[in-house]
């Protein structure tokens, strides 16, 4: 079972490696949407990669309250907790 720090680190690695996000701009308080600059075609990739790495399936409603990176970490973490 992954701890919080490991989850956050893995998500950051994915964002840097797969979505070419500048590691410097990733911080818990930063805006996820503005930082990632993803379009709807990219979001489906993000959902697939999160599912393959964490075993949880994100749905549109999961992004409704996501503003910051921390919000996104929390969504993934909560989904993983529910799965377990």
């Amino acid at each position: 079972m992954m701890d919080k720090a490991s989850i956050y680190q893995k998500i950051n690695e994915i964002l840097v490696e797969e979505f070419e996000v500048d590691e410097e701009i990733i911080s818990p308080e930063a805006s996820l949407k503005e930082s990632l600059d993803l379009d709807s075609l990219d979001y489906v990739d993000l959902v697939v990669i999160i599912e393959s790495n964490f075993g949880v399936k994100l749905v549109e409603a999961d992004f409704d309250a996501v503003i910051t990176f921390q919000d996104f970490y929390n969504v993934v973490e909560q989904k993983m907790a529910l799965r377990n």
């Binding site: 709807s40 075609l41 979001y43 489906v44 959902v47 697939v48 749905v59």
Partner: protein
């Protein structure tokens, strides 16, 4: 109720494309995540180049197979087939092109659907032999 396989005029109720750019001949099998379609290459198809279906024609056939999955799922919900477009193509591999008179079978696998975008993997066979594959994102318009 439409009984599988579906072809001809009934098939056209499930997709937005019309002649001369219809590149699916039948819907062979369907479930929520998988569909198998066929396409018989005819001499008068506008995507035929010489004796063979062009690469763009084969890719369009794949995309229309995805549209067929969307259209049939809408039909099952009692709704009309929506318009859509190809958002992107990745991992395209074409080993062989079918010739006039040959029928290809394509299997599409839905990988993910999110925000109106469908990510699918498509594999096409001819006489049981793998001839092409691609990963596509399709988008339902409007």
């Amino acid at each position: 109720m439409l009984t599988l396989p579906i072809s001809g005029e009934k098939l056209l109720t499930l997709i937005p494309q019309r002649a001369p750019i219809v590149l699916v001949s039948s819907l062979e099998s369907y479930n929520e995540n998988v569909l198998v379609s066929t396409f018989l290459v005819r001499a008068d198809d506008m995507f035929v180049d010489g004796e063979k279906l062009s690469e763009s024609g084969l890719l369009e056939h794949m995309a229309q197979s995805v549209a067929l999955h969307t259209g049939y799922s809408y039909f099952l919900k009692g709704e009309n087939a929506p318009m859509g477009y190809i958002g992107s193509m990745q991992n395209v591999e074409i080993r062989k092109l079918p010739t006039i008179g040959e029928t290809v079978f394509s299997r599409i696998q839905i990988i993910q659907e999110f925000m109106g975008v469908t990510l699918v993997e498509i594999e096409t066979k001819l006489d049981g032999e793998f001839i092409a594959r691609a990963r596509m994102k399709t988008v339902v318009a409007g």
